[in-house]
Each structure stands twice: as structure tokens, then as C-alpha cells.
């Protein structure tokens, strides 16, 4: 359970993993990011990536799924106002397996909205070689388990 009170600054949660295949990379990109290096293996060969790579937004959406499946509490989560400092550091290619680690940087109860807290997390995404492929700093809103504890 990850209500506001359950989140410890400095603590990290690890997600499960996901392996990308070429068909899924192409299907996502056809819908949302149809650049040649995401949809056309031939063109991708000639690009600066040297082969087909996943859209960075496909990686990001997949990380969201990993977080929902293993790191975010659906009873407590109230969504997110956004994120900062997102970097794509290495391409994600067919056959690559990613997993994410989410570390709480800080948290504070809302002053204007009783029962709600917000926290900032650094989310780091690694491939099967342990290389950092993507990172961002996410803001999450969540319920307090005990709203009375806000009056501290």
C-alpha cells in the first residue's frame, strides 16, 4: 500500500520488466510517432541509430505500465501534474528488456487540499545490460491514509 504516509524519502521501488519486439515498436510508432527510424527497418539502418529503435514515448508509456503494475497504488494514486528533466540516453531496440526504479526525492502534504499529498520521484529506466536508457523526475499526487495526520 502506497498512501502518502507509506512513502519514505530516499526509498526506491523496483518494477517488473518488459521486452520490446519489432512488431510492437512499429505498431506504437505507426500510431503516435511515425518517423522512419521507428517504423521502417530499412530506413532505420541508414539513420544515425543504425537500426530500428522504439519511440521514446513508447518507452515512456511502457514505463508507466510497469509502474502501474508494480509500484503505484491504485487506491491511493490521484494522477500526476507532470514531470521534469526527461532524458532519452540510449536507444531501446527490438529484444531489449527494460525495468524501472522509482526513488522518492521529497514529499509534502497539500496546503490547499486536505487529504492529498504530493511527492517527487526520480524514475530511472535500465536495459538488460544495466545501462540507463531513460530518466525523468515525476510528480505524483496521492491520498493520505489518515487525513488528520496532515495537521502536524
Amino acid at each position: 500500500m502506497q498512501y502518502f504516509e507509506d512513502i519514505a524519502v530516499g526509498a526506491a521501488r523496483e518494477t517488473g520488466s518488459h521486452t520490446f519486439d519489432a512488431a510492437a515498436i512499429i505498431a506504437f510508432a505507426r500510431q503516435f510517432d511515425p518517423q522512419p527510424f521507428h517504423i521502417d527497418p530499412e530506413a532505420a539502418q541508414q539513420s544515425s541509430f543504425g537500426g530500428l529503435v522504439a519511440s521514446g514515448w513508447h518507452t515512456a508509456a511502457t514505463v508507466m505500465r510497469l509502474l502501474v503494475d508494480s509500484a503505484i497504488d491504485l487506491e491511493a494514486s490521484l494522477g500526476s501534474p507532470g514531470f521534469d528533466d526527461l532524458s532519452w540516453l540510449k536507444p531501446v531496440r527490438p529484444g531489449d528488456t527494460i525495468r524501472a526504479r522509482m526513488t522518492c526525492l521529497e514529499k509534502s502534504p497539500s496546503k490547499s487540499r486536505p487529504g492529498i499529498g504530493s511527492a517527487r520521484f526520480r524514475v530511472e529506466v535500465f536495459n538488460q545490460k544495466g545501462e540507463l536508457v531513460m530518466a525523468f523526475t515525476s510528480i505524483g499526487l496521492m491520498r493520505l491514509r489518515n487525513p488528520a495526520s496532515q495537521q502536524e
Binding site: Q35, F37, W57, A60, R65, G79, S87
Partner: protein, 154 residues
């Protein structure tokens, strides 16, 4: 084909409107963001959002598609090193029509790699009521015009 040099600071692009359907909101959320307020109308009504709304990552995907179809696709794109300051300001509901606008903030030729450079663009998406739903600073990497990069390397 257009190159880094074809971007100018202050250049504004207005993208065609894009309506969002309930079916696509639910399909995206099932695959990538299965939280109740993106999947289930009843649960969404009880949530802070007050109704079913698109995953923020879906809104980003819709924005990216507009960018590729109406801007990036005409340029020698080399991908993106990242984005910054993304904010989801209002929920996107089924039937909403999104209007995207981009303004180029900086055009920066690379110092270490003379064949490329990065542009910074501030994007803003508004709904049909004119309310901003998403803002972001995007970074795009583009090839320089081949003659220019040859001269820079000489």
C-alpha cells in the same frame, strides 16, 4: 528536406485540431496506463477528475503524432535527447478537441558534432474552450544542411 538552419527563433507553428474519442482513451489506457480514472466511467466519476479522462501519456502521443505529421516529418530529424517541464494542466475528456501550438525558443548547432544541432520548442495544447491542457519544452535534434556542415568541418 528541411534542416536545422530552416528553424528560426520565434517561429510559431499552429497544428490542425485533433478530436479525442472515448474508444481511443480506453484502448490506450488498457495497454499503458490502466488506472481506474482512464478506464472506467463510474470510477472516474468518483475521482478528482470527475469523469473518464485520457492518460497524460496518451495526450503526449497525440501531440507527438501532430508534430511528426505537420512539422518533424519535413525535417531531417535525428530524434530527441529529451523534454522538460511537462505539465498536465487539465484533464482531456472524450470529445475534446485539442489545438497544439509550438514556438521555437532556441536553435543550437552542436559544438562537438558539426553535422547536427538541437532546437528547443515550447509547446502548448489547448482544448476547445481555450484552456491549456498540456505544456512542455521539447528538444529536437536535426541534421544541419549538408553544405553547411562540410564548411563547418573544413
Amino acid at each position: 528536406m528541411k534542416y536545422l538552419e530552416d528553424f528560426a527563433v520565434g517561429q510559431v507553428t499552429e497544428f490542425p485540431p485533433r478530436q479525442v474519442s472515448e474508444e481511443e482513451i480506453i484502448a490506450f489506457a488498457r495497454a499503458y496506463d490502466p488506472q481506474p480514472f482512464h478506464l472506467d466511467k463510474e470510477a472516474a466519476r468518483q475521482s478528482l477528475f470527475g469523469g473518464l479522462c485520457a492518460s497524460g501519456w496518451h495526450t503526449i502521443g497525440i501531440m507527438m503524432r501532430l508534430m511528426v505529421d505537420h512539422m518533424i516529418g519535413e525535417y531531417a530529424s535525428m530524434g530527441s535527447p529529451g523534454v522538460d517541464q511537462l505539465r498536465w494542466l487539465k484533464p482531456v475528456f472524450p470529445g475534446d478537441t485539442l489545438h497544439l501550438r509550438g514556438e521555437v525558443l532556441e536553435v543550437k548547432p552542436s559544438r562537438s558534432k558539426p553535422d547536427r544541432g538541437v532546437i528547443l520548442t515550447r509547446y502548448e495544447m489547448r482544448n476547445q474552450k481555450g484552456e491549456p491542457v498540456l505544456t512542455m519544452i521539447g528538444k529536437g535534434m536535426y541534421r544541419r544542411r549538408p553544405a553547411a556542415s562540410a564548411a563547418a568541418g573544413a
